[in-house]
Symmetry: C2
Subunit: 257 residues, 2 copies
């Protein structure tokens, strides 16, 4: 249908290993599924696949904890090695008790465990860290897709986030290349000529959640999807996921929780 969007799960990808050329695997899978790659496709990729391909895997029992990590490990009931990894990626600890370890990461995300996660990682004590520079990862994957196919696409890397006020997690953007994270309506007019003063839609996060609907979180083994047919987003070379972060000072919700 004209104007429809298609969300294509990239089924059949192998389990990603350190050193795998992820972009090439994505393109190969798209070809095997006979969907190919088109200009203005957006590749949405779960963080775990990117982290694995970049070798961001650590056995927590091989990590030497700092004194602060050991203290927080007692407060949270988590292993000292795991907490040490969380602290290394964190700028500030926001909450640390038996229910949750919430930090603001060095990149600005406020999330549980600095995004470090055990699920779908091989080895009983091995965890996956976030990609070191998710925008850089997205940029390189986009370049490599361009090199392999000649097509200009967008790339989004996502992570699963809990949220204030609402139950359950959703997928949100932690890395982006090739498209603006926003569709900005501020200054434009509505149907009756009224000027929109506030609306600036975080389409990157909506795209992250969209892809999750076909990717899943458990044994589905679908770590990536293509979103095809986007009319509204702005494709552009410059993109930064940090544009999605609100500083503590400017957070409208500061003091409400």
């Amino acid at each position: 249908m004209s104007g429809s969007l298609e969300i294509i799960p990239l089924k059949g990808l192998p389990l990603i290993q350190p050193g795998d050329k992820l972009a090439q695997l994505l393109v190969k899978t798209a070809e095997q599924l006979r969907v190919g790659v088109k200009n203005r496709d957006v590749f949405v990729i779960g963080q775990k696949a990117v982290s694995k391909s970049e070798g961001q895997l650590v056995a927590v029992d091989h990590v030497r904890p700092s004194r602060k990590a050991s203290e927080l490990a007692k407060m949270t009931g988590k292993s000292p090695g795991f907490v040490e990894l969380v602290l290394r990626d964190s700028r500030r600890v926001m909450r640390a008790d038996k229910l949750a370890l919430i930090v603001r990461t060095k990149r600005g995300w406020t999330c549980l465990n600095a995004g470090i996660d055990k699920s779908n990682v091989k080895g009983p004590l091995t965890v996956a860290l976030l990609p070191r520079d998710p925008d850089g990862s997205a940029f390189r994957i986009r370049q490599e897709i361009k090199r392999c196919t000649g097509k200009t696409v967008g790339v989004i890397i996502t992570d699963t986030h809990s949220r204030p006020f609402r139950l359950g997690q959703v997928e949100e953007t932690i890395g982006i290349a090739g498209l603006s994270p926003f569709v900005d309506y501020r200054g434009s007019k509505d149907l009756f000529g009224y000027e929109l003063r506030f609306k600036n839609v975080a389409v990157a996060d909506e795209l992250a959640g969209t892809a999750e609907l076909v990717m899943g979180q458990g044994r589905e083994a679908v770590p990536a999807a293509i979103v095809r047919g986007l009319a509204r987003v702005r494709f552009q070379n410059r993109a930064r996921s940090s544009d999605l972060v609100v500083s503590r000072r400017e957070d409208l919700f500061r003091g409400t929780l």
Copy 2:
């Protein structure tokens, strides 16, 4: 492609007026677009269309403000009538100054202006309130689609929400019928037999954002979309949007903002 999701914008709907039979208009539009209605389709509808069809439109200059509304109007720079409408739908005011009026609504949502909004509403001083009972609205629309077409669908009513920690707004679910808001992984195993203890994905919110990608917020005049091909969600008769609300006491992020 097998497993793909299709997001179909319901283009060509007339501008909704009070008293319009929204479900019938949605079905008629789907037929005119030759996409029809299928079992397990999810209709995602922007709050504004539902509010208009239910006559939830108020001219703020006809509203008599309470003393508290007049005070808050001064603090926020908003009109006393508008603030009065916000207070009538609110349980608690979380922030009130020139930058934002944030409340917890009687239904539990924490949001700006209790979701009361001017955009795409005719009349210089007329605003749209949220539907009185969005789950009830979704339930009735679902029933009416069943009656017109014989098909069993899901219905989600959405609103545009600002969020803590992150810039820009996304579409989130405020009313639901016919499907569970969650896909719950807790207790299931990952690819390597590790038990997932925490993952409970708020697919209703992901569906809301997905539909927004084809609906837009300004002059697009596409107030609804069909999501077709969902494999993961659980269709069921019982559904409550309040399941998406976290109580203040149980909010993991309490004290972090």
